[in-house]
């Protein structure tokens, strides 16, 4: 079970799913600057592979990726009960409206609707803002999990 992988005392982990190397490095630097432990993956397939072996405290997902596109990964993260509770930051080059429109389209005619992302950070945002959002996610995670 994913939950059993978590330890209260170990460094908290952040799964980064981002195809662009520069951006991956940048996210790594941001995550490390907060004293968190980044796990870097370069596409959806790799990201989901990591998720099947451990449960991170946070996922940062780029929704504009080739191969297994970020939007599809988003869908999977939101529908799979094992992953749904993991805090997720959508990190994206497209603006929120475009992504929200995509989610609406996916939900058309579906019984179980997927949620809009709670945390959405555009790639052009200030690093300080991104850090703030990450800080918000991590304590939330601690409160939610017994």
């Amino acid at each position: 079970m994913a939950d059993t992988n978590k330890t209260d005392k170990g460094a908290r982990t952040v799964l980064v799913i981002e195809d662009e190397m520069d951006m991956r490095f940048y996210l790594m630097a941001v995550v490390r600057s907060l004293g968190l432990d980044p796990i870097l993956t370069r596409n959806g397939v790799q990201g989901l592979e990591v998720l099947s072996t451990l449960c991170p405290d946070l996922i940062i997902l780029d929704v504009m990726m080739p191969e297994k596109g970020g939007a599809l990964v988003y869908q999977e993260l939101k529908t799979n009960p094992l992953y749904r509770k993991i805090p997720l930051i959508v990190f994206s080059g497209v603006d929120f409206h475009s992504f929200a429109h995509y989610v609406k389209m996916v939900n058309l005619g579906q019984k179980t609707k997927i949620d809009f992302p709670k945390y959405y950070v555009e790639k052009s945002a200030d690093p300080d803002y991104l850090k703030e959002v990450i800080r918000k996610c991590i304590p939330l995670n601690r409160i939610d999990d017994p």
């Binding site: 520069d22 951006m23 490095f25 940048y26 630097a29 941001v30 490390r32 600057s33 080059g93 497209v94 555009e122 790639k123 052009s124 945002a125 200030d126 690093p127």
Partner: protein, 390 residues
């Protein structure tokens, strides 16, 4: 017989004087202008000179027969109504004449009612055709107007898309710059060399991106609206020749400019005209070069550029003795993105040239013979010179 709208002209060709006289009286009385000819040859000459609306001709005549006359007339003027006059035993000829698109035939002895009916039918058909034509013309005008509106709305849509695409690209570059400066800061703070190297690379990459973007934008702006200025027409041609002469001599092609000697100026977008001449001369050089590759024979390869005045036009002619073009290539040259240069060409050059020349209300013309070379000419209208202004 209704003939109230306009006076139609009828050419009557018959070798029998009696018939000519009778029909002349009948048709003139019915309100037509009648022209007479005694044989096919005279008939055809009269037809060419007077362009009558309707021709009535005897089938059997000495010299050029009725059917040959019919064929000749239909060849140059398919809309002319031709009515044949046939004798009793000429049924075969009558049927044959219908195959050659005669409007009708009437048999001798000619009954005036039959004649009037036949002519009336021809007149009706002509007026229907004319109405159809004017409807079609109107329709075409409407379509052209709509087309222009669509073009305009499309170019607005294109601008919208471009702006949206641009803002996306700029945002990503801004993101990259922020990211790289963060990494650099972290590197400085922690004395981490890997961070410094990576951050610096990332920043340089984003500087390249924004440089390229600004160049793309500049090109886009150049093609979207001409900036008109009075210039000496030799000016852009001279610049092109100066720029390309070293490339030409490298390929052993003789390039010469024959400038306009008279002092005058034209109102054009100098950069755009430069782009067009540049495209034409580059194409000419390529055509010369290709020729060698194809045939292997040695001729003195040359490209000549002429700047000339032809009445109210300034004409740039670019002539090469290169490989020339097939007819089927030259037909689609300005419409489609077509390249004959294999992987070297993009097919954009002449399209852009055509667009620029259209914007200047000019013309672009060419003549090409496979294996012998091509001449491309662009004609730009001379504006009336404005006085009292700088």
């Amino acid at each position: 017989m209704e003939n109230t709208h306009r006076i139609y002209t009828i050419l009557l060709v018959d070798d029998e004087e009696g018939i000519r006289n009778v029909l002349d009286i009948t048709l003139t009385h019915a309100g037509f202008k009648v022209l007479l000819a005694a044989d096919g040859d005279t008939g055809f000459k009269t037809f060419l000179a007077q362009k009558p609306d309707i021709v009535i001709t005897d089938i059997k005549m000495p010299g050029i027969g009725g059917i040959d006359l019919l064929k000749q007339i239909k060849q140059i003027s398919p809309d002319t109504e031709v009515i044949m006059i046939t004798g009793h035993g000429d049924m075969d000829l009558a049927v044959k004449s219908l195959q050659y698109e005669a409007a009708d035939f009437i048999t001798k002895p000619i009954d005036s009612n039959e004649l009037e009916l036949s002519v009336k039918k021809a007149v009706d058909r002509m007026s229907i055709n004319q109405r159809m034509k004017s409807y079609m013309d109107d329709l075409e005008k409407v379509i052209r107007k709509k087309d222009r509106e669509i073009d305009e709305s499309q170019s607005l849509a294109t601008i919208g898309q471009t702006v949206a695409g641009m803002s996306h690209v700029i945002k990503n570059i801004a993101g990259g710059l922020k990211g790289s400066s963060f990494i650099l800061e972290q590197g400085i703070e922690n004395e981490n060399r890997e961070y410094l190297v990576k951050g610096w690379e990332m920043m340089k990459g984003n500087i390249d991106k924004i440089t390229n973007l600004s160049l793309d934008l500049l090109n886009y702006a150049k093609t979207s609206r001409p900036k008109l200025k009075q210039i000496n027409p030799n000016h852009p041609a001279r610049e092109v020749v100066e720029l390309l002469s070293s490339r030409a001599s490298e390929k052993q092609i003789n390039i010469s400019l024959y400038p306009l000697e008279k002092e005058l100026s034209i109102m054009v977008d100098c950069d755009a005209i430069y782009t067009v001449i540049f495209t034409l001369v580059t194409n000419a050089l390529d055509a010369c070069e290709e020729k060698n590759e194809v045939s292997g024979t040695r001729t003195d390869k040359k490209v000549d550029i002429f700047v000339e005045q032809q009445s109210n036009w300034i004409v740039y002619r670019v002539r090469d003795n290169g490989q020339g073009m097939d007819d089927n290539v030259s037909g689609v040259l300005f419409k489609e993105f077509i390249t004959t240069k294999g992987t070297r060409g993009t097919g954009f050059g002449l399209m852009t040239a055509k667009k620029i020349i259209d914007e200047h209300k000019g013309r672009i013309l060419f003549e090409s013979k496979k294996g012998q070379g091509s001449v491309f000419a662009i004609k730009i209208p001379l504006q009336p010179v404005q006085t009292g202004r700088q």
